[in-house]
């Protein structure tokens, strides 16, 4: 590529033309401080458009920093010759990648901007090598999905409020519904698996009850949990998940609650634990007992004898009655 170094007026640059801008939420203060201290070390790369205005190809933040510092003129490198949009985008990407790794949102934006210029059959190979993600169709689809999210949620991904996998799930929802989840995750700070669990539960409740997922999240019961000042974040998260599970699986939850109630009737102590088969589907019940000495063992045995004679045990083994 050929360039011409020149000094131009900043007002000749169309700073709103973000065709080649991939940077997502970088910190401008450090750059402003650096330029104030030592000046502009690397001039931005621009292209002159047919309307004679300059389009930024590399160095958006440098131009904006100089503008913030009140500069009127700036040294730039102007690209010469007829270059395609694909060439310009590649240049912008390689310029960024020369000093840092692109984050997933920048990769998503890169996919969105570049896809139109790359033949379908070469897309995965070219985009993965250009944007720096593994050459894997599933990874590609996940990153691509992030480009459909609103800016707030994209920022939530880079700020680790929303996990990548959960964000991919949210990309399938309407903006309104996705934002409802995002607002909830901001409050609860759930792990990736728990975020995905909440998304699945709320989505499936919405389908079962013919509602929008956002409406499920706005339900009175859920809002009441979030508004309880005595609960910390983890407790709220657990209660929200339990509420959603109860609403999604009402019969199963009732059986579990019934089992817990019947278990209390057995009056076991903390050294003897009785666990039902998973989902009461038919596997074995598990009885776990701990002891430290023969005396302990004898006591446990007496508890077990009493348990065997207790009619509550028979009732416990009929979880559906």
């Amino acid at each position: 590529m050929k360039y011409e170094d020149k000094t131009i007026s900043i007002s000749e640059i169309d700073t709103k033309d973000d065709t080649c801008n991939l940077s997502f939420r970088t910190d401008p203060d450090a750059l402003i401080a650096s330029i104030r201290a030592v000046g502009l070390i690397n001039p931005p790369v621009l292209r002159q458009r047919q309307d004679l205005k300059y389009q930024i190809v590399c160095g958006f933040h440098r131009v904006m920093a100089c503008k913030t510092l009140g500069w009127h003129e700036i040294k730039v490198r102007v690209l010469l010759g007829d270059l395609s949009e694909l060439d310009l985008l590649k240049l912008a990407i390689w310029d960024n990648r020369s000093h840092r790794t692109l984050n997933v949102i920048e990769q998503a934006q890169g996919i969105e901007k570049l896809s139109a210029h790359i033949p379908f059959r070469n897309r995965l190979q070219m985009l993965s090598s250009l944007l720096g993600f593994p050459q894997n169709q599933k990874v590609f689809e996940k990153i691509e999905a992030l480009s459909r999210l609103q800016g707030d949620i994209q920022a939530g991904v880079t700020d680790e409020i929303v996990s990548l996998e959960a964000a991919v799930d949210l990309s399938e929802f309407s903006h309104e519904d996705a934002l409802s989840f995002f607002e909830l995750f901001k409050v609860l700070k759930l792990s990736q698996n728990k975020q995905r669990e909440v998304i699945t539960l709320a989505q499936e409740i919405a389908i079962r009850e013919d509602l929008k997922p956002g409406e499920v999240l706005q339900s009175k019961e859920l809002r009441t949990i979030l508004d309880r000042p005595e609960l910390n974040r983890n407790e709220k998260g657990s209660k929200v998940r339990a509420y959603l599970k109860r609403r999604r699986f009402p019969t199963l939850t009732k059986a579990e609650e019934r089992f817990s109630k019947k278990l209390k009737d057995l009056k076991l102590n903390e050294r003897i634990h009785l666990t039902p088969p998973p989902y009461f589907e038919g596997g074995p019940y598990t009885l776990r007992m701990t002891f430290r000495s023969m005396k302990d063992f004898d006591e446990r045995r007496k508890t077990l004898d009493a348990m065997a004679k207790n009619p509550a045990l028979r009732r416990l083994l009929e979880p559906f009655e």
Partner: protein, 367 residues
């Protein structure tokens, strides 16, 4: 509708290939060196699962034609044997396991039938292992092949000549015309999967309607064939009780209970890998959003008390109109049997034995 015919080079001179080609003359034909070529063509499609229904691949079965039905130890299995004539289906049911079972699923028909009959010869001559029930409707629908093949016309008379094994042809079609006039000697059971009109409309694309299936069943009954019915998958939805009760009534208004060899009940269950497929391919389907839990075999099943309630009601409706009919559950455990039917198969010699005995009564086989 089939739009392409692929022929495995290794079988291009088989007689069955010629007869399929004669009935599909308008189709473009591609002779391929192996199945990979067909798979590659399908996986390039936007919906390979749908694309696999629109091509027909004639090839040979490299494995065994007789296979044990893939039951698990955790649930009571009926001990069925599969006659593996081909794979996949032209109809498109949301819940169909074949969408997730084959990678990719492709409509393929095995033309090396000399080996199929060799295996059948060995089976009917031998009493070990003691299999008495064989069906073609496990990896495909038994009767979708009728327009292009002579399979039923060959299989039905074959089974008619022996008295050890019954053949069950299980279908959601009405393609019974080829069965007319065949010497069946009651050794072929024609069976239908039944569901309510609401489920057929929303979940079973391209299948025959409920009444059409029952009319076809009545026609087969008139031709002297023993019948069987499979209420599978039973699905819980708003209005299921009214719909399924009416379905049971319509069944017994259409055919006589005394000609029914067995009726199975199976609630909807699915491999977890099927869920995203249904979500993608059947976006309006609601069937996967019931109260499902992971079963002992890894498949998702309705939470047990829901299954028990469903089966109790279905069994009561069936028994009300046909008290003596052989009713059984497909892949359920002892607790479900006990609570829904009041006994466990073990007390009556085991499910396999119970079904064999019913086949012996209706089809005059020696067990």
């Amino acid at each position: 509708m089939i739009s392409k015919l692929y022929i495995d080079e290794a079988v291009k001179d088989y007689p069955a290939v010629g007869s399929v080609q004669e009935s599909l003359t308008a189709l473009p034909v591609f002779v391929v060196s192996d199945a990979v070529k067909v798979h590659e063509a399908l996986t390039a499609k936007q919906d390979p699962i749908a694309a696999g229904k629109r091509v027909l691949f004639l090839t040979r079965n490299k494995g065994s034609f007789l296979k044990k039905c893939p039951g698990t130890k955790s649930y009571i299995c009926c001990g069925y044997q599969i006659l593996h004539i081909g794979t996949y289906c032209t109809m498109d049911c949301a819940y169909c396991v074949l969408q997730a079972y084959f990678h990719p699923p492709v409509l393929q028909y095995f033309v090396n039938q000399e080996r199929l009959f060799k295996e059948l010869d060995d089976l009917v001559r031998s009493s070990i292992p003691p299999y008495h029930r064989i069906g073609t409707g496990e990896f495909t629908d038994s009767l979708i092949w009728e327009p292009w093949t002579e399979l039923s016309r060959t299989l039905v008379p074959y089974f008619a000549q022996q008295d050890r094994v019954v053949l069950e042809l299980k279908t959601k079609t009405t393609a019974v015309e080829n069965l007319r006039g065949l010497e069946h000697n009651k050794k072929t059971i024609v069976a239908w999967s039944l569901n309510s009109p609401a489920i057929i409309r929303s979940e079973e694309r391209g299948t025959a309607g409920m009444r059409a299936r029952l009319r076809a069943a009545a026609q087969c009954e008139a031709w002297g064939y023993p019948l069987a019915f499979h209420f599978d998958p039973l699905i819980l939805y708003e209005g299921w009780e009214k719909d399924y009760r009416r379905l049971v009534r319509e069944l017994f208004a259409s055919v006589s209970a005394k000609n029914i060899v067995w009726i199975s009940l199976g609630s909807f269950r699915f491999m977890p890998s099927l869920k995203p497929i249904i979500q993608k391919r059947f976006q309006k389907s609601r069937i996967i959003y019931g109260e499902f839990i992971p079963g002992l075999d890894g498949k998702m099943r309705y939470f047990k008390p829901l299954r028990i309630e469903l089966y109790r009601k279905m069994a009561a409706w069936v028994k009300e109109l046909a008290p003596d009919v052989m009713l059984y559950f497909c892949m359920e455990d002892q607790e479900v049997w006990e609570k829904a039917l009041g006994f466990v198969p073990e007390d009556r010699g085991g499910l396999s034995r119970m079904l064999d005995e019913s086949a012996a009564r209706h089809c005059r086989i020696v067990i």
